[in-house]
Amino acid sequence: MQKTPMNVVILRFPGTNCEFDTQYAFDKLGHKTELIWHKEESLPKKTDLVIVPGGFSYGDYLRSGSIARFSPVMKAVVAYANQGGKVLGICNGFQILTEVGLLPGALKRNNNLHFISKYQHLKVVNSDNAFLNQYSDSDILNIPIAHADGNYYIDDNGLANLEENGQILLRYCDALGDREVVNGSVTSIAGICNKEKNIFGLMPHPERAMEEILGSIDGIKMLQGFEQ
């Protein structure tokens, strides 16, 4: 059955660098994409999904994502998200979503202080959501990561809430699915969502796992999850 194409809005800040990969990924899946500059004060009326893509918005000055959150477009994104609109933050996008308060916790410098860029195994922790519904719990994926500030931090209470509400999406693991310390993240968390499960954030890059020839196609089902 032919799926209805989604209207996917991809944000651009000064320093964003994954917007075209993300656009390519959604175009490839047959969706309509539109890049939106951060100065815009509103989102297109028929937006089905907002992507905050990866990169180094504002040069990561002060803290990753801390300045982008004050861009005019983010006000519109917060309003959209608060009305139940779906938002996905990838890498720097995840950092921006925590800074703006749409997702709990914060992303610190990797514990080994290195910029880590490699393929990384991930375990699906909760698939009962719009993002990972094409997968099953405990599936093991292989998706590239590329970040210096991916060390997810949340306090013990916050972590208990995430666990209880099924908000932990993905954890770093080895090829066999055993938890792996990659960047120092609390309990190896790689991605989370909000309690209402319409706002998603992860450090790995699904848009870079769309072609077998490039090493993995595990990102396809992630992005397809959003299809109605």
């Binding site: 803290r63 410098r109 990797n110 514990n111 931090y153 120092g184």
Partner: protein
């Protein structure tokens, strides 16, 4: 008037840069180091002479932008 803002990771939040620096100092044979924490200092020039006003204004800057209070604490010194 000037505000000197220090932002650093909260007690209990592991500071990877501080830890690496501590190891470096120890490998250079500096003894007795109990802990190293790394933060950043932000110096803001303000066109007010009212200390209270300055303090209040800078506090708001810290809460909204300069610090991420999920992981960071800050101090403000008005000089």
């Amino acid at each position: 008037m000037k505000a000197i803002v220090n932002v650093y990771l909260k007690e209990g939040v592991l500071d990877p840069q501080g830890k690496a620096t501590r190891h470096a100092l120890e490998s250079m044979n500096f003894k007795g180091i109990m802990d190293v924490r790394i933060g950043k200092q932000i110096i803001i020039k303000l066109d007010t002479e009212n200390r209270e006003e300055a303090q209040k204004e800078v506090e708001e800057m810290c809460e909204t932008l300069l610090a991420n209070t999920v992981i960071e604490d800050y101090t403000i010194e008005i000089v």
